[in-house]
Symmetry: C2
Subunit: 402 residues, 2 copies
């Protein structure tokens, strides 16, 4: 039998999805599962999106331009201009979801065997993309106690060597919900300038910022050649299944290389680009986004109250995205998350959460944390958080007896 490449064996199973078989089994037993494990919002995609797709008059679902549908590139340009960020069309590469933008960004920044710094806990899929590309992630750990804010500059610089080609920042952060301060982002930019590193910035949750100010990396002075931004419409337009994102950079070499990679895969999904362009440009989209963000703020507060109502539960207030990384008074959240699906129920209901260790590279970290995605309506979320509290109590009881 031919040997499977070691790189493909290093692509981790999704820690968010690997409990799925247990969830399926629970549902077969008649137990309702509240999904707090995955960032799939329940909010309806804007009408403009689906209307544009439904009313598309074409007959041939043809390739679109490799750089992206022209009207979608213009829509991204207008969107960024509304944020005060001026971009020319060649600075925008439409991608098949934020996922592809991350692949392109990593491939531009680092050769196989080279490394990128990432702050853990981090969005697990970064590890999957890095493994596919033969890139190593260097984790620098942030702590629940500081609300997962960045470590001091010296600690970050201690992680650098000649093989490190860039720093990857997700802001607002998935999985922690942390919005980094302006000073933190500026400090990172200084490190990148000083050491000639790329700053790979994942800002897909940009609008989901409930307090404070979000410093977009596209506004950083003297960072035009360093910043490679990855964007996505999945959350902003509640259209996760429409695989539409973007890579944005003012670095011409990066954009040229990204275009070549895009040409290799020919086109992003045509019909979904049609919907995305219409929705991103629709006059009531800013209102849609505002309302969505207000709804998420209410949800965040429910989750936060829920975590804090658990004796021994802990979470600094996260200011963005739609995740909370909650510390729970259990020894192993992998066990706990599985137990929630295999052994717990109350009134035929249980909760699914994402165990913390999946968001860390460093072994041994995250065993007391879970990521909670607050993607359910407020009534369900209240119920789910109450359930979670009860479950923690019950699990501790089981643990104490065994």
């Amino acid at each position: 039998m031919p040997e499977l490449s070691s790189r493909s064996q290093r692509v981790p199973a999704s820690p968010i999805r690997k409990l799925v078989p247990h969830a399926v089994a629970a549902k077969h037993r008649g137990t309702h599962v509240y999904h707090l494990n995955i960032g799939q919002p329940d909010i309806a995609t804007p009408d403009a999106f689906l209307a544009a797709v439904r009313n598309w008059p074409g007959q041939v679902v043809a390739y679109d331009h490799s750089q992206g549908r022209e009207e979608l590139i213009r829509a991204f340009q207008s969107y960024y201009l509304r944020l005060g960020i001026e971009l020319s069309p060649p600075e925008i590469q439409v991608t098949t979801g934020g996922s592809e933008a991350l692949m392109f960004a990593m491939a531009c920044a680092a050769n196989p065997g080279e490394r990128l710094i990432v702050f853990e806990p981090f969005y697990t899929n970064y590890a999957g993309f890095a493994a596919q590309l033969g890139i190593e992630l260097v984790p620098i750990t942030s702590s629940p106690k500081t609300g997962y804010h960045l470590p001091a500059t010296e600690e970050i610089e201690a992680g650098l060597d000649a093989t490190v080609r860039g720093i990857l920042l997700c802001n607002p952060n998935n999985p922690t919900g942390t919005v980094y301060t302006v000073d933190e982002v500026d400090a990172l930019a200084s490190i990148c300038r000083k050491h000639d590193l790329y700053l790979l910035a994942d800002e897909v949750y940009r609008e989901f910022c409930y307090e404070g100010e979000l410093r977009s990396t596209l506004t950083l002075p003297d960072m035009e050649q360093h910043v490679i931004l990855t964007d996505s419409l999945s959350k902003r337009l509640s259209a996760c299944g429409a695989r539409v994102g973007a890579l944005v950079s003012r670095n011409e070499g990066v954009m040229q290389a990204a275009l070549h990679m895009a040409q290799a895969r020919l086109s992003s999904p045509s019909l979904e680009m049609i919907g995305a362009a219409a929705a991103l440009d629709a006059p009531d989209t800013p209102r849609f986004i505002d309302e969505t963000v207000s709804e998420y703020r209410r949800r965040r507060d429910i989750v936060l109250a829920g975590v804090r109502a658990i004796q021994g539960g802990f979470c600094e207030t996260p200011h963005g995205a739609f995740y909370v990384m909650a510390s729970l008074p259990v020894d192993d959240t992998e066990d706990f998350a599985r137990w929630l699906l295999t052994d717990f129920e109350r009134d035929h209901k249980t909760v699914m959460v994402a165990p913390g260790p999946g968001f860390y590279v460093t072994p041994g970290l995250g065993h007391r944390e879970v990521r909670i995605a607050y993607v359910l309506n407020t009534a369900d979320l209240e119920d789910a958080m109450n359930l979670l509290g009860e479950a923690v109590e019950a699990f501790r009881g089981v643990a104490a007896r065994t």
Copy 2:
């Protein structure tokens, strides 16, 4: 400025698309351009596809399963069963176009620095994917004189060393239209078994086989662990812009790794998977495919007659796909293809073709060949081929004078 990774600089610009600016300029001058340069069919996507998308009753365009929409996996399973190939669902991974399937297949087969054998001329984008993944392609040249059939086993084996992890075969072939004989495919299988290599098989043009028999690699005995098949609905359903393909293998390790890669990018395009599932399963799809193939056979014959009507033009009869690699009596088809767009027109019309060198890795090859994609209706195609013949004469006149 941080240094752009060398791997990303090695991703080639699409040779098929790099003449686009000249085509745009020609159109601005009022010249109609017949596009024979790119495999974008003009045939309407089946009604079932668009109807399913338009009538989808959902409100949230949500992530689907990373392995693919369940009904689409079942539709692929039924499709293969109609071909006499029995597959279980875990042997099918839905991908975002055939492109993603190729990336997954290559990443499973080879680590960075390792190599894959490919028969040149070959589908250019293989080089783009390989460069992104840090894989080197080892070209083994096939000749116009043999209709681009495979070289002898000894010649293929001479290209092997410990770093070669697999052989990549596109059958029916893009860009040559060659359908490899049963014996040729069997011989390749023997090489793979003997040397423990993967056989990466790109069979997206499977139905486009006008004469003779296509030996699918999925029917090869004792090759279950070797074959990684890439498939796509782009051509079969004339739905190139719907990014829906599949990776198929009976090798469990490969399928597990592919699923992990798929989990990292979360989901293929949801709406287009809905359309694809409906169309692949629709009762009249076999008829649609038959009619499409008959239409392409007529087109092939027009192109072939057109090439042969050119004095010094040459092409062995290709039996599949919808491409012809034609040898033309010009010194440099790169110059010729550009000249067609910048300097030639008749009755305000010209032709765009893909120059041969872009399909070769070995320098100096392909300068007398062009790839012609026969994706226009028969009347336009007749006109385009007549134009091409006149253009060759005119270009030779220009060349003789300078």
